[in-house]
């Protein structure tokens, strides 16, 4: 369920203040009130409710995947999502890209003095929904408040933990010639949604962020075969960056086909107008997988049946030639080199 800014079915809890005060981060009474009234109703579970300084959990022995990420996206509400669900989905995905089943999240908030409670409430609501959908539990958290002007409304850090099955060994250095490259859906939606929503009132676009948790898709993929070589979500720097990272880590060449790259017409138009290459734009609900050639079509079929995978395509393959370089066959049949973008095309998009 995407965040609906007009969702009033769960009303804002009543507190003494309708905006965040410095005292809410001071650890005293106001802090406790804030946690009890705003956070626990959203994230409450046995572990969190104990409100210890740490969460203690038992895990099976074996490989653990841990990932942390901070979210500073501007604006905090953008078409198709907000910073909260981005924070949950982003870390769930980072953990899941190892093949792990994400289990627990920690959440740290840095709130700006003066942030309306209503805004915080909406963000927390969408985090609750995102966490439930992904099947992860938020077991510990932290809240700090900084002076007005010291951060843009709020920043969120999430850390996730998951368990990697013993028979799964996914790594960017494991690609082999003959592998097929699968992209799970349309490119550039998130980055362009954020970019176009920053342009101001005169710039209108129908592009929505694709923020989504992909762990269920990855579980299905592992059921098809545990022998996935590489998995990554192409966030900052887009598909171009992820493919270059694969090519360099594994010291192989990657050849993709321009016509096979899925893109929504509205996203494509926005990229054309702003002069941006969609391959360089962030995605928050897509993955790139490198799988052995013989399992590729079964893997593609499985991904296409998943909730966020209907537009999945095989976009290329791993080759012996041009090690470390990513090339693309253009619609006209020529060969073009796809480099990582030089710098920050679109700052603060996640």
């Amino acid at each position: 369920m995407k965040n609906n800014m007009n969702d009033f079915s769960c009303p804002v809890p009543i507190l003494e203040h309708d905006t965040i005060q410095l005292a809410h981060g001071a650890g005293g009474q106001l802090s406790s009130k804030l946690i009890e009234t705003m956070f626990l109703p959203r994230f409450g579970n046995k572990i969190l409710n104990d409100l210890e300084d740490q969460a203690v959990v038992s895990l099976n022995t074996g490989k653990l995947a841990i990932s942390t990420d901070s979210f500073v996206v501007d604006p905090i509400f953008f078409p198709g999502g907000n910073i909260g669900e981005l924070a949950v989905n982003g870390t769930v995905n980072d953990v899941a890209m190892s093949g792990a089943k994400p289990l627990y999240l920690s959440v740290g908030f840095i709130l700006e003095e003066g942030l309306p409670m209503e805004i915080l409430h909406r963000i927390l609501l969408s985090m609750e929904v995102a966490a439930k959908k992904a099947g992860v539990i938020i077991i510990t958290g932290d809240t700090k408040v900084v002076n007005h002007g010291s951060c843009d409304q709020l920043f969120i850090n999430t850390t996730g933990i998951g368990q990697v099955p013993d028979n799964v060994h996914i790594s960017a250095s494991s690609l082999k010639p003959g592998d097929k490259i699968i992209l799970s859906g349309t490119v550039a939606d998130h980055g362009m949604a954020v970019m176009t929503s920053r342009e101001g009132l005169s710039f209108q676009s129908r592009v929505n962020s694709d923020t989504a948790a992909l762990n269920h898709m990855i579980s299905k993929m592992i059921e098809i075969s545990p022998h996935i070589h590489a998995l990554r979500d192409p966030t900052r720097g887009g598909v171009a960056t992820t493919l270059n990272e694969f090519a360099k880590s594994s010291n192989i060449g990657i050849r993709i086909v321009e016509e096979s790259i899925p893109i929504l017409p509205d996203t494509r138009a926005a990229c054309e107008v702003l002069g941006i290459d969609p391959l360089n734009v962030a995605n928050e609900g897509k993955l790139i997988a490198a799988v052995p050639g013989e399992i590729a079509s079964d893997m593609l079929k499985a991904i296409k049946c998943c909730e966020y995978g209907n537009n999945a395509e095989i976009i290329g393959e791993v080759i012996d030639d041009h090690s470390g370089i990513v090339t693309m066959k253009t619609a006209l049949g020529a060969l073009r080199i796809i480099d990582m973008p030089l710098g920050e095309q679109l700052p603060r998009i996640c």
């Binding site: 017409p265 494509r268 138009a269 054309e272 041009h322 370089i325 090339t327 253009t330 619609a331 006209l332 049949g333 020529a334 060969l335 073009r336 080199i337 480099d339 030089l342 710098g343």
Partner: protein, 363 residues
């Protein structure tokens, strides 16, 4: 389907035109495009890879980013570093290095440098910030001149005094003549920049085509446009037709856009201009007329005396004329790479040296 865009990217039509080119050409020809947008399209679509070997494409000085003299950047940096200044520019100028720095670097040290899509946006910033001086880096060919002129015209009409432009405008026909009159010239036909011609028309090219006996084809930007322009140029070369023929039918008319030309005339006048990599070309630039001198940032803030030296190692002048190839330059790949370019042709990724640098990895 994006109308008037996708039809001109149709691979089926493109392949058809390539076939026609192959069937038409009977001897080697050298064709130059003077337009950054066309260069970009050629590289992006791999058109130079697909053409028959007999056709050599030379990328001319058509990228305003590449041909902006280094001293204009240095002047821009001085202006942007002043307190109380909001310095605005098109995004692609922000990374161009001056003698020591670039606009993005000084932005990171606190200068108020903003990227805009239009000079009217810059004028709006001036309206909203009456206590600041807003300066716009007005760089470009004839295509951007009408917009830059309009911003000054508007500012004057509204009595806005905190807006000015740092101008470095270049004109294509004098540059074309300069290249053609060089004894080392190898270029036999030109693709003229489609949107420059949309503004200025193609009348100015007719005497050039006749005098130097070169076919000139105003051409669009999409791959089908560029290929069709090349086909027309080759057909004209093969039958010794030294005139101007328009490929970009849907957008360009012989007389161009008269309204736009009028306002360019009102605000700007022709002047001598330095082209990075080539040198000074007489009457090849535009400067703000005296009556609008209040809007001339170079005069207003006294940066006219800033002069800079180009790198002595750089040979982009001969590369821009197609006389030498990038890998024949001793600095290529050593002192001069895209991350730290020495001159015009490595500065922008549409420059001949930057493109060569990128694609040599495929060999």
């Amino acid at each position: 389907m994006i109308k008037y865009l996708d039809e001109f990217r149709d691979p089926v039509v493109a392949k058809r035109i390539l076939e026609a080119i192959k069937n038409t050409v009977t001897q080697p020809w050298v064709i130059m495009e003077i337009c950054g947008g066309q260069t970009h399209s050629i590289i992006r679509n791999g058109i130079d890879q697909l053409l028959p070997k007999d056709i050599e494409l030379v990328h001319g000085p058509g990228c305003p980013v590449c041909v902006t003299p280094i001293e204009v950047i240095d002047r821009a940096l001085t202006l942007a570093s002043k307190p109380n200044v909001i310095f605005t520019s098109f995004g692609d100028m922000l990374r161009v290095p001056g003698s020591d720095n670039d606009l993005l670097m000084i932005k990171s040290t606190g200068a108020d440098v903003r990227s805009v899509y239009s000079p009217l946006e810059s004028l709006n910033i001036a309206r909203k910030n009456p206590s600041k001086e807003v300066i716009f880096l007005a760089v470009g060919f004839e295509t951007t001149a009408p917009g830059n002129a309009m911003a000054i015209h508007q500012a004057s009409k509204e009595g806005i005094t905190n807006f000015s432009e740092l101008v470095s405008h270049v004109l294509v026909p004098p540059a074309m003549e300069s290249l053609l009159s060089s004894p080392a010239n190898r270029v036999q036909a030109y693709l003229a920049a489609g949107h420059v011609c949309a503004v200025m028309g193609w009348q100015e090219y007719e005497p050039i085509a006749e005098k130097y006996r070169v076919p000139i084809v105003p051409t669009g930007f999409e791959p089908v446009d560029v290929l069709e322009g090349i086909l027309m140029a080759v057909e004209m070369l093969e039958r010794k037709d030294y005139t101007v023929k328009n490929q970009y039918l849907r957008t360009v008319m012989r007389q161009g856009n008269i309204t736009a030309q009028k306002i360019i005339q009102d605000v700007f006048e022709v002047t001598n201009q330095t082209w990075r990599g080539i040198g000074n070309i007489a009457s090849s630039g535009l400067k703000i007329r005296d009556k609008y001198h209040h809007y001339d940032a170079a005069k207003k803030f006294s940066v006219e005396d800033i002069h800079s030296q180009e790198s002595e190692l750089c040979m982009s002048g001969v590369i821009l004329q197609g006389v030498k190839k990038p890998n024949q330059c001793p600095a290529f790949g050593n002192e001069c790479i895209p991350m730290h370019p020495l001159g015009a042709t490595m500065v922008s990724n549409e420059g001949a040296c930057a493109a060569y640098f990128k694609y040599q990895r495929l060999k």
